[in-house]
Point group: D2
Chain length 240, copies 4
C-alpha cells in the first residue's frame, strides 16, 4: 500500500546563497525527494512557498499521508489559511514531520501551543544524536548514536510541550544538549520534530539521517482518517 | 503572598435566559467570585466579553496569575488579538483554567493544537467524577468521587492532547465516560480543563467543585515568569 | 515474518468450577488459542501453572515475542524465579499482555512498581469500553465503543503508573469507570493491560475483544531485542 | 508543618577509601544532613547499611515523608524485606530521592520495573546540567544550567521508564548526554532520580545541587497517605 508523501520547502536560501546552492543545487525538497526515492511504496510530491497556495492546494493536502516541512527565513510569509488547512488534516490523522528550523514555524505553534524557542549558534560544532529508544520503529537500523561532524547548534530549554515519545537527545561540542527527535500526538495525527538539517551542511545526505526520516514516515502514516473532529450531538443515551 | 485571579465569563446566557438567571443572577463570574472569596490570599477580578478588550487589557492580563475562562455561545466573538495575548502569557507561566464548554474555545485550540471535540447530550443525567489521584494537590480534601445529580453529559472521544496529568474521570448515567479534569503543560504555564458547569445547573454552588477550583488555582500559580519565550542567539560556546 | 505468541493461563477455575468449564471447556488458554488461530503468521504455544516451570522454560521464554497472561486465584503460586525471567525478557523487548485479573499478578507489580489495586464487584453489570484512540494500531477495526452485556465490574482508582498510552476507558452500569486498556513501556518492551475476561463470562468469545488482542499482539511485537540491559563501562570518550 | 526526611547511605566508600574520606569525613549522609539543616522545617534522620535493619525499622519508615538513598557497592546486601517495606510506603505516598549510583539499586528496579542501566566512565569530565523546566518547583532558584567541573560521566541510553516529568538533561565533555533529574509517579508517591554525587567529587557541597535536593524534598512531600493500596470489594453499585 502506497504512502503519499509531500515534501514542502521554503526554497529561498538555495536561490540566494551560493554556499547553500552548492550543497542543494535543486533545493532541499528535491534532495530529500531523491533520497526517499529508494522506497518504492512512497509516492512523493514536492511543494514550495512561491507556488500558488504554496503548492498546497486542498487537493494536495487531502492526498498527503505524511507532510515534511522545511522553513526558516519566511515563516511569516506562510499564509494562515494554508497553515489551518494543514493543521486540520493533522488533527484528522495525517502525519507531519517538522524539520530543523521549522521549530519556529507557524505549524509548530499551531499544533503544539508552544513557540518552539531555543538557543542557537553557528560554529560548525560536532553533534552526537543519542538513541534513547533502540526498539522503536523510528530508530530501526540506527545504532547507539548518529554523529554529524558539523551542524548548527540548537540548545535547551526548548519551548515545546512535554513530548509523548522522546527518541533522540543530542550533544553539541559547545556545551549544549537538545531534544532532537520527539513525537507529539495531535488529536488523531502525529507530529515528529527532527532537528538535523541546517542549510549550510549536507545533513540530508547523511544516510542515517535519511533512515530516520524514512522510518518516521512509515511510523506516522495514518491507519485511517477521522473525518469529524467537531463536537457531536449524541441525542440519546447509549445504554439501551 | 497573594494570587491574582481573573474570572472571565462570556456572560450571555444569564442575560438572555430566565432559567439561567435564576441560578446565576449576577452571572457565573460573580458566582465564582463569591465562592472564591473565602480564600483571603486570592485577589479576584472579573471580566466579560462585552467590556472593552473583553475586560482583558494588557494591564489586567499582565497582573493575572491564574485566569478562569467560561464561554459557550460566543467563542467566535472573542478577538484573536486577546486570545494571542492570553496564550503568550500562559507560555510565560500564567495558569489557565478552562471551564466546561470552554472545551471548544479558541484558547483550547490555540494552547493545545486540538479542537476539544466531544459528544454531548442534555438529559439531566447523573454524573460521578472519580478521583484518580488522591494524593494530588488538586484533589486535596476530595474523597473517592464527587457526585453531581444533574449535569450536561460530555463523552469521549475527547479531542485533546494526551494529558500530562489525568485527575478526574467521569461516569454519566447515559453510558458515557469523560476525562473531566486534566493538566497540560503549555511551555512554562499550566492549563487545567475542568468539565462541570453547564449554565442550567448549579454546579458552581457545589462545595466540592469549588474546592477543586480553589486547589487548582493554587497548583497553577506560577513561581515566576519566563519573560523570553523567543529563540536566543547564544553567541559563544558555554564550555569555557 | 512469524510472531511467536505464548498464552499462559493459571488454569484452575476451569477445572474446579462447572460454570466456568461450560464457557471454557478446554481452558481460557485454549479458547484464546482457537480465536487467534485465524492469524496465519502467529505461532502459538500455551502454558499453564501446573506444568514444570509453569510451562515457561528458558527455551519457551526466549522464543516468545508476545506473552499473554491470565491469572487470578493463584498469583502467589507463581515462582519468583519465573517472574524474574519473564520481566528480564520484557526489558529486552518482549511484549506482554496482562489480561483481566492479572492486574494483581506478580508481573504487574514487578514491571510497573505498582500494586494494580482497584475496586471490584460481581453483579453482571453492563460494560461499555470507549475507544479514546481511533487512529491507533490497537483499535484498528474497532468503532466508537465495545459493549459487553455482562462483565465483572472493575473501578478506579486503579493503582497503576501513569500510562504511556491510554486507549480504552470503561463505563459500568453500577457507577464505575476504569482504564481498561493502556500501554506502559518497560525499558525496551511494551506492557498492554486489557481488562475484559472474567472467567464466568464469555468475553474471549467476543469478536471485538479478540480483535483488540490480535491488534495488540502485532503492536507489541519487538523489532529487535536489546540483549544488554546492564550498565556498560564506556572506557573512552566518544568525541574523538 | 515539619517534613520528616531520612537520609540513607550505604557508608562503605568513606570507611575504605582515604580519598573519599577526605571529601566526606563523616559520610555522605552526614554531609547531606549538614547541608539540609538550613531548612528549619526539616526533621532529619540518617540511617546506614550496617545498622540493624539498615537503620530502617518500621518505626523509622513510617515516620518518613521523604527518603534520600545513596548506595553503590553494596546494592546486593540491602535486604529484600526492607526494600519491600520502603516500596510499600512509596506506593502509599512517601517521596523517594534516588541519588547518583542508586540508578542500579534494588529500589530503582522495584519501583520502576526497569534496571536503570546506563554507560559510565570516570575521567573527571565536566558536566553541565541543563534546566528544562524553569518554572518547576524543583528548579526554584536555579538558572539556565548548573556546572560541575568534575563528575563521573553517566550516559544514555538510560534504562528507565518514560519519566512523568523530565527536569534536567546533562552534557558531559566526553560526548555523552543523560537524563539527570526526572520524576516518576509510583502509585501515590513520587520518585525523583538525581544523578550528581559520585563519591570522589564534592558534588554535595555544591550549593545548587543542594538547592535542587531541598526543592525536591518539598515537592515530594506527600499531602496525605493512602493507607489502602490493595484491591477493595465494593459490594454495591454506587449509583443509588
Amino acid at each position: 500500500m502506497s504512502i503519499h508523501v509531500t515534501i514542502w520547502n521554503e526554497f529561498i536560501h538555495e536561490k540566494k546563497d551560493e554556499s547553500v546552492r552548492r550543497i542543494y543545487p535543486n533545493g532541499i525538497h528535491n534532495a530529500l525527494k531523491d533520497q526517499l526515492s529508494s522506497e518504492s511504496d512512497f509516492v512523493i510530491k514536492t511543494a514550495t512557498l512561491d507556488q500558488p497556495e504554496h503548492g498546497l492546494t486542498e487537493e494536495v493536502i487531502n492526498h498527503t499521508d505524511v507532510l515534511l516541512w522545511w522553513g526558516h527565513m519566511a515563516h511569516g510569509q506562510v499564509k494562515d489559511e494554508i497553515v489551518n488547512k494543514i493543521a486540520d488534516r493533522v488533527r484528522k490523522g495525517m502525519g507531519i514531520i517538522l524539520l530543523h528550523s521549522a521549530h519556529a514555524s507557524k505549524l509548530m505553534k499551531c499544533l503544539t501551543g508552544c513557540t518552539g524557542s531555543l538557543s542557537w549558534r553557528e560554529q560548525n560544532e560536532k553533534q552526537i544524536l543519542w538513541n534513547l529508544k533502540p526498539n522503536h520503529p523510528i530508530t530501526k537500523g540506527i545504532g547507539e548514536y548518529i554523529v554529524l561532524d558539523k551542524e548548527e547548534t540548537y540548545g535547551e530549554p526548548f519551548g515545546i510541550p512535554d513530548p509523548d515519545e522522546c527518541i533522540f537527545l543530542s550533544w553539541f561540542s559547545g556545551g549544549n544538549v537538545f531534544r532532537s527527535g520527539w513525537i507529539k500526538n495531535v488529536q488523531n495525527g502525529k507530529l515528529f520534530y527532527f532537528q538535523p538539517g541546517h542549510e549550510t551542511f549536507p545533513s540530508y545526505m547523511n544516510p542515517e539521517v535519511i533512515k530516520v526520516i524514512i522510518n518516521a514516515i512509515r511510523y506516522l502514516k495514518p491507519l485511517n482518517y477521522i473525518e469529524n473532529v467537531d463536537s457531536i450531538w449524541q441525542k440519546e443515551p447509549i445504554t439501551s
